[in-house]
Symmetry: C2
Subunit: 158 residues, 2 copies
């Protein structure tokens, strides 16, 4: 895909996340994109990402994917809301997770691509709520809701 | 520690979890123990487990630690409740996560041991709710609540 991913806008010093940092060579380097009014991220788990029961993904990976994709979706939503242009010189808005809830609806099988889709539920001044849904083999497997809080100069260490 | 960890009771075919499976050579191999009425698990993140902001842990790892530790705590709570003995021949009760909520209270720094403590909030016939708290450098960093559901023959593929 030639389109630039949300995570590719992050400044270098915010690009070391194990989940989605483009500068973390050992990480998963997740990439998120707009797909109409939804956001989408696709990831193929490695064979060692198995859960307690062989053949299924471990739950922590699902939470990780939802967390990083929600953070990226919040950034993208804020940029869209604030009419950022491709060569905008304003800082890229960055978010941290205040809370994450994951509902595991059914087992998520290994061996294929996972698709995580996001919807922006609510945009406030500093807070954005993102709903996510994780699909595998064409079926909904888990749902998530993340409350993301925008970093400001006063909480940049968050 | 010579005491047997909760995860060491899991049968082989449930011991491949990336988070806590003793047979997953690429995984984190978490170990959980009783500490009075609480359960405890300690883990030292690897250098690549950084979050978006360098020096802090990525949120997905925290969710993963809480998820696996909650599952193990549920198993241990059920075994204690049902008076399992060291050489008990009944099957080891196993749990899957129905839902997980994580509240990220403050940044979790890299470079030290993380301690995850669990408390059994509620035990029902098939459902156990576990509250967790994650500490780093002596401070509470995140709180979790997991609803764990016991596997039965009819849902063993879960």
């Amino acid at each position: 895909m030639s389109e630039k991913a949300f995570q590719d806008y992050y400044p270098d010093n915010y690009s070391h996340c194990y989940g989605c940092g483009r500068l973390n060579q050992d990480g998963m380097q997740l990439k998120s994109y707009w797909d109409g009014e939804e956001t989408v991220c696709r990831y193929t788990p490695r064979s060692y990402h198995s859960g307690g029961f062989p053949g299924n993904i471990y739950g922590g990976l699902i939470a990780s994917l939802m967390d990083c994709h929600s953070a990226a979706s919040a950034t993208a939503a804020r940029m869209r809301e604030d009419n950022y242009t491709a060569d905008d010189r304003r800082p890229v808005p960055r978010f941290v997770t205040a809370s994450l809830r994951v509902d595991y609806l059914k087992p998520t099988p290994m061996g294929g691509v996972l698709e995580i889709r996001g919807r922006i539920k609510e945009i406030k001044t500093r807070k954005i709520i993102v709903n996510t849904a994780l699909f595998a083999a064409g079926e909904l497997r888990a749902k998530g809701e993340a409350v993301m809080v925008q970093l400001t100069e006063s909480n940049a260490g968050q």
